[in-house]
Symmetry: C2
């Protein structure tokens, strides 16, 4: 049995009404009626036209461990003292073995109304899963999508690091963010626990407090230091030599002491935070002295991090100072990285691109993990069939009407290799075939129809669970590759940050007719007088 | 030993740079230097002028369990292969026994720059706590503050229920939200796991899927039902009687069957979700028939829930229909509750108040728990003293300059009973005394000074930890009472939603002078030519 990463994820991680409804079903002897629920969303987040589906692996682990323990049942019994005690006996013996789950793969680019999961099984059991499934999918998909947007904004050649742990919504908001940002296209996290749990790359060097903890009065710690070939030398003296050579007059002595201490601790990982006092006037000159000394000792310095100020301007100035240093000393330190990390969001990345900058890597925290631009995704879980009869959820808002029945879905690929649209059909209609022309209809707009002759057809739904787990776990790195590959195949106008083109989600003519007939039958006709 | 509620909260729930900095300190033999860090925020969230401090209990549990296990050390060693192995031996034997922590009480109303926690101890150990402390305080305080704002907006007499689990940022975002929304003034949560973990009230009845799962074709389930005195009767027949009596012609039969089934399952807890088909035309008439039958069987029906549409209008219409039913039947069902739960945020509450409405209770999810209006609080953790020497963190942005040294803080209460301002002093300056006049200065604006003669003086800081836990755990309900009591004592203009008056946070003249002297000494004077 696999368990969810977070021990808080148990069958009790649910809204009380799932339990009371289960009791209502049980009491009216309907708990075992076969039911089908779809999990889907209605609108992309972030005013975008794509979403990354994530959270599947945790959903499968949840199913695998789904079981109300004796003390869970005892707790619920105390909450519902009037309920028939036999209900809790029933509750204590259910698990996910009577369920079948179809869904899209972890990391799939998905569109509104396509079922991301279709859960089939006894009504009360399927109902009891609702809240946990939504919790596991909503934020995972939201933050993976946000990360993918940051990746598109930064460009494929930038190193992107997730630094959000301290500002995330709870410890697990952070741990989930680290995983799903990686899946969405980030390169690494600062979060050690997440790195360990999910085997994803972890990065980090120093904060301002490290620099501040050294003051001029402390002086430099002279420690014996081995060069890359094992020869012991006086590193602080070498730094002092370059300080004189570069003719530096200014700069904070405590900062210099801190850089020397850090370089001696991590000679192969020297990336200096340069803005504690003044990046241009103190941090970068101090960095260069220490970097040159490291180079003399046979180590390659990594670069600098800027955490405040005008990142476009400062990065350009830093690059200019690196070039000047090379001209002055003739010492080639190779490409020095410039990392930026000050309150970066998606539009800052676009703005930096349009201004021009010399940044190689971004450390991104708050806005990435809390999804400032839209902090929740609205996945819902709706009953679409019961006892073999398709059900529709009506609403005066057409947007909230559900598409009834068991459906499968396909991505139709055109001649140019781009996906053309996603098509939903009742499971009893056959899958579309390459080379065969189909009429595809907008489910809600009568006149929006298109004939499509797909060159390729990708089935979107796969059986994930049938009494037990069917698909093996997908490693985060594989899901990440899947995300990046799909984004590179999507028409760029669907991905652009401003006014992206909506991607079409269609239904077959049969499903269109059925949906509208059921809608007519169920919707009350009001009387006005 | 107490452990954090969330098993993910371990010493590895940290940014990698805390580990690399600890190694840097250790390597330069500074890891045991006595250091003091302040945890504080600079700006209130939500454009407000107050914040609720929360997360203390989890912080103390984290300290109590703070220990790097052998496999944690082994993992870190693999991440830092060049580091001296003796460092990991040191890491494996540290704990929080060398620390002293002062802080404000759980649920205290707090203001910018006042240290919420002051952590004293060996530099490297205090550094290693940073990320986890921020993670545990930031979201807890943010969401507690959000909940308090919703409470102020709704008024003291409304029942407020947190329904955010499915849309929260991860499972623990949800569990934390449930706890801290309760602390901030909510009455209950829908989250069963949180209710159990923290012993807070849990509520919930039914969702649309329950209603939808019954269709007209199923007919009504006739179950024998006992009235409140144990007499068995035909409940469905009683409902049918009232259906005729009220002369109802319309209404969805599946919905009616669902209401009957639910009432039979929970005769004492009948609160019907009435908007699945049409609240006014179907849901409320169906509800009334079932409610009247329950009354006949000796049970008091609870009321209805509205989850869509114009809540002000629908609640008013519902109230009118309840009154009409009483006129028509002469049967007094007492006050029937109207619960509303459709995408409610703080400004919806204000808008409902100004329109007028008949709602008794609100179920609030997404916007409450994800803090849509501002999804992160910016608490920081800054070095303020090392080896007995106060340190200042400079920035070209005066707003980011820190207030150096070990400080205690007091709330000065005026004659009218309202807090006048919060005052910070170096710990070696004596506490203010009631009846004694003091000069209080804005730390950053030279001319903003005020003489205060407090009637009462409340110390804000208490010793929470001294080698071990000093204060007992505060129950969520006690913290909640503390929050509500303080809010009722704060001047209303600090609490109002639009353009609230800032509350003053001051320093003593001695601290003012010291801060500005250190700032002058440390800030580089740039040369321009």
């Amino acid at each position: 049995m696999t368990r969810p990463t977070n021990a808080l994820v148990t069958p009790l991680l649910t809204d009380l009404y799932q339990i009371t409804m289960a009791y209502g079903y049980w009491k009216s002897r309907r708990h075992d009626v076969p039911a089908v629920f779809d999990l889907f969303f209605r609108h992309h987040p972030f005013n975008g036209e794509f979403t990354i589906f994530a959270g599947l692996e945790e959903v499968l682990r949840f199913l695998d461990s789904f079981h109300f323990k004796a003390d869970d049942c005892a707790f619920l019994k105390r909450q519902l003292p009037d309920a028939d005690p036999a209900f809790f006996d029933w509750l204590g013996q259910i698990d996910a073995s009577a369920l079948t789950v179809y869904g899209v793969l972890e990391g799939t680019v998905v569109f509104p109304r396509i079922p991301l999961l279709r859960v089939e099984g006894p009504l009360a059991v399927v109902q009891l899963l609702e809240t946990a499934l939504l919790t596991l999918v909503n934020y995972a998909s939201l933050v993976a999508t946000n990360a993918a947007r940051f990746r598109l904004a930064a460009g494929a050649d930038k190193l992107l690091m997730e630094f959000g742990l301290r500002r995330a919504q709870g410890p697990d908001g952070a741990v989930s963010a680290s995983l799903y940002c990686y899946m969405g296209g980030f390169d690494a996290t600062s979060n050690v626990a997440a790195a360990r749990l999910f085997d994803i790359p972890v990065k980090g060097t120093m904060a301002h407090s490290f620099i501040q903890s050294f003051s001029a009065q402390d002086g430099v710690t002279h420690l014996p230091m081995a060069d890359s070939r094992g020869q012991i030398g006086d590193f602080a003296a070498a730094v002092s030599h370059y300080h004189n050579l570069l003719g530096i007059e200014q700069g904070n002595a405590g900062e210099m002491a801190a850089f020397i201490a850090y370089a001696q601790a991590f000679p192969r990982q020297f990336l200096a935070l340069v803005d504690t006092y003044d990046a241009l006037y103190s941090g970068i000159p101090n960095f260069l002295c220490v970097a040159l000394a490291l180079k003399q000792f046979g180590y390659a310095p990594i670069g600098i991090r800027l955490d405040s100020g005008d990142l476009a301007h400062l990065s350009g100035e830093a690059r200019r100072m690196f070039a000047e240093c090379y001209q002055q000393t003739g010492i080639d330190m190779g490409h020095l990285s410039i990392v930026a990390s000050n309150d970066i969001n998606e539009s800052v990345l676009h703005s930096l691109n349009s201004q021009g900058h010399a940044i190689d890597a971004f450390g991104i925290g708050t806005h990435l993990v809390t999804c400032q631009a839209q902090p929740a995704l609205g996945c819902v879980y709706k009953l679409v069939e019961i006892n073999g009869r398709p059900r529709i959820k009506l609403s005066q808002d057409a947007d909230k009407v559900t598409i009834p029945g068991r459906k499968h879905a396909f991505r139709l690929i055109g001649q140019a290799g781009f996906p053309l649209l996603d098509l939903m059909l009742p499971v009893n209609e056959p899958a579309p075939q390459p080379g065969h022309r189909l009429l595809c209809r907008n489910p809600f707009a009568e006149t929006q129809r298109v004939f499509v002759t797909p060159s390729r057809v990708q089935p979107l739904h796969h059986c994930m669970w049938q009494g037990g787990r069917v698909t093996p776990a997908v490693a985060p790195n594989a899901a990440r590759q899947h995300v990046l590959a799909q984004l590179s195949l999507l028409r760029p106008d669907h991905l652009r940050p401003t006014n992206p083109t909506p991607y079409k989600v269609s239904v077959s003519p049969g499903l269109y007719e059925f949906l509208h007939r059921l809608w007519q039958e169920e919707a009350p006709v009001r009387q006005m007088a």
